[in-house]
């Protein structure tokens, strides 16, 4: 069965790129969220296997969303996405239960490697 992935990013451009990469690699992208509230709603609705989560979101920090979703879905794998510069937040995210993180800009190989690794519960990071 295909692994199901939810994409959370406030940039439509980023979401589109991630979706294309993941779909091409055979994953099932079950939803896209542009802010924290949508992320929470879609996460509980679709119960994905993995969530890619942008650290900086308009209505909330990605960190709060991470903690909320963690609580509701303890088994979901969460991969943080961030451009360099916000390492402090990324570190905190890893401590709060994120499986791995991807640094933007990302290459297709890197994304697939990290997502694949996280799904095998290897706790990989970039």
């Amino acid at each position: 069965m295909k692994n199901r992935i939810l994409i959370v990013d406030d940039s439509f451009y980023m979401r589109t790129m991630l979706k294309n990469m993941l779909t091409d690699a055979g994953y099932d992208v079950v939803g896209e969220a542009a802010n924290g509230q949508q992320a929470r709603d879609l996460a509980s609705e679709t119960k994905p296997d993995l969530i890619t989560l942008d650290v900086i979101l308009p209505d909330n920090t990605g960190l709060e969303v991470l903690k909320d979703i963690r609580q509701e879905l303890p088994d979901v794998k969460i991969v943080m996405c961030s451009a360099v510069g916000q390492e402090v937040i990324v570190n905190e995210a890893l401590e709060s239960g994120a499986s791995a993180y991807i640094v933007k800009p990302f290459s297709e190989d890197k994304v697939l490697e990290i997502v694949g690794g996280a799904l095998q519960d290897s706790g990989a990071s970039a």
């Binding site: 439509f12 451009y13 980023m14 294309n20 900086i56 979101l57 451009a83 360099v84 510069g85 933007k104």
Partner: protein, 544 residues
């Protein structure tokens, strides 16, 4: 593969341009309120996205600038340092440079790194003083800037006024041509004129639409006014604004600007009590003032509402008698609404002490005149101890007004619908004569009625006592309403309801203020437009 790249490119450009516009707006907010958290968070988030997206697209020059700006905004956001001092011009020029680079990407131009800016950003990050130079050095940036034209055009309002006048003339001619085509009866001509008519309609609405602005452009100036007036009056006032997006003709907004200012000053100066008085009256210390706009069919309603002391009807009655506006007996007979309308009478002002701001010697009568000149209405609604609401009923556009056409002595006349309550057809036995004046009972209300022909007769004397026997058959009566005063006008015949373009009356006629203007009908006939306020005043001065 090629098409996916194209898609990414388009998405990147769309988001980047949007981000640039949003950042520019947030920057101007920060210029006024450097601590505005919403604006700081948004600029930070947008820079973060722009950086990531630009790098993904390979536009590293954008990424470099955005990354450094993000770092600085991160410091400001976490309150390590304020948005102030020499960093501000650097951040502004950073936004400008980003805008220039984004546009360059859109125009397929190569990006070059802006070294002086990047160095300055680094200095700001390290807490050093940036090196500020005059804008002369940015020649490269200027070169790209010439490539884009704004989608917005600023037009002097005079040009739009001229356009509106021309459209007015065109509408009049259109009505003539339509009538002529009807008379000639040629079907080809009729279909051409029908098309012409639709085009003229479209043109008229387009021009009217081009003149519309959001009420917010005026409303948004009031938080400042309220703060200043409240401070000067030592009142505590919270202002709530709503309906900023309601659209209205720019010139109408211009004309009511002073009125609105006056009403708001009044509300704070005379309406809302001091904090001590409010506490004593069992009200919260902070007074509430509301400025709102809404549409009501073709009109725009603007309300100024306060929760202050309200209008003291007894005091108004007393004042009106003191100022000789009416007798003690007449004053005692007035109902609440009629008392409120006294506030708008010339020379009436309840302000007992002239305060620094609200007392400018301008009474509500001046406000009333301004609204009248627009063909609008001013209403007041007040409850003692609870507050007062002023409502301005304004036309959306000045060009075209709905009017009721009627005939008198073989000539057509028009009455603006804004001042028309209803039309009735009554048999003479339904009318009563009281004290020489005809009265009609319409919807349980006794309304004075007069033959318009008598009223318009060239004569300053009192009207002859009404003679019911002279009225033969059903009488067509238009009930007008000015400032809550109703008056029935007997006319020869109702014609129809029609949108008309009102033109100012020219020379000898403008001596007679009974006519608010003139319009040309499709038949080519000149039609005078009656001014209801003037007619009402004339009736009051000549009633037997």
């Amino acid at each position: 593969m090629k098409s996916r790249e194209q898609e990414y490119r388009e998405l990147f450009m769309a988001e980047a341009l949007e981000a640039y516009d949003a950042m520019s707006q947030h920057m101007s907010v920060l210029e006024k309120r450097p601590g505005d958290e919403g604006a700081l968070n948004e600029v930070f988030r947008l820079l973060h996205n722009l950086k990531a997206n630009a790098r993904a697209m390979g536009h590293d020059a954008i990424g470099e600038v955005a990354h450094r700006m993000e770092t600085i905004f991160g410091q400001i956001r976490s309150k390590e340092r304020p948005f102030a001092g020499s960093m501000v011009p650097v951040l502004f020029s950073g936004i400008d440079v980003l805008g220039g680079m984004i546009r360059a990407v859109g125009a397929n131009l190569p990006l070059t790194e802006n070294v002086p800016l990047v160095e300055n950003l680094d200095r700001v990050i390290e807490g050093e003083e940036p090196v500020l130079v005059d804008d002369e050095s940015g020649t490269e940036e200027d070169a790209t800037r010439k490539l884009e034209l704004s989608d917005l055009v600023y037009i002097p309002i005079k040009k739009l006024d001229h356009l509106l006048n021309l459209v007015g003339e065109l509408i009049i001619d259109r009505d003539r041509v339509l009538t002529l085509a009807q008379e000639i009866g040629d079907t080809t001509l009729q279909s051409v004129t029908a098309h012409l008519s639709r085009l003229a309609d479209d043109l008229q609405y387009s021009v009217m639409d081009a003149r519309l602005v959001g009420v917010g452009t005026l409303f948004n100036k009031f938080p400042r006014v309220v703060r200043d007036v409240a401070t000067a009056e030592q009142k505590q006032v919270e202002l709530t604004i709503s309906g900023q997006d309601i659209q209205i003709d720019r010139n109408i907004l211009q004309i009511i600007t002073d009125s609105l200012l006056h009403l708001v000053r009044n509300a704070i100066g005379h309406g809302i009590e001091t904090p001590q008085e409010r506490l004593k009256a069992g009200k919260p210390e902070v007074g509430q003032l509301t400025l709102s706009a809404q549409t009501d069919r073709d009109n725009v309603l603007i309300r100024i509402s306060d929760d202050g002391r309200g209008v003291d009807a007894e005091r108004v009655r007393r004042k009106a008698v003191e100022r000789g506006l009416l007798s003690r007996e007449a004053a005692a007979r007035l109902n609440e609404a009629e008392v409120h309308n006294l506030l708008f009478e010339a020379g009436f002002s309840t302000a007992e002490q002239v305060t620094e701001i609200s007392g400018r010697g301008v009474g509500l009568d001046v406000v009333k005149l301004a609204i009248d000149s627009l063909g609008g209405q001013l209403r007041v609604d007040s409850r003692l101890g609870q507050g007062t609401t002023f409502t301005l009923v304004l036309p959306t556009s000045i060009a075209v007004k709905g009017a009721l056409l009627f005939e008198l002595d073989g000539h057509p006349y028009a009455l603006p619908l804004m001042h028309t309550d209803s039309v009735v057809s009554l048999r003479p036995e339904k009318l009563h004569v009281v004290g020489g004046t005809l009265l009609a009972k319409v919807l349980a209300e006794n309304i004075p009625v007069v033959r318009l022909a008598d009223l318009l007769a060239d004569n300053d004397d009192a009207l002859p006592p009404a003679n019911r026997a002279a009225l033969l058959g059903p009488q067509d009566i238009i009930i007008t309403n000015y400032n809550g005063r109703k008056l029935g006008l007997i006319v020869d015949r109702f014609l129809r309801q029609q949108d008309i373009v009102i033109k100012p009356v020219s020379q000898p006629l403008d001596m007679i203020d009974l006519f608010g203007g003139v319009t040309l009908l499709g038949s080519g006939q000149v039609c005078l437009v009656l001014d209801v306020p003037a007619i009402t005043r004339l009736f009051l001065s000549r009633r037997p």
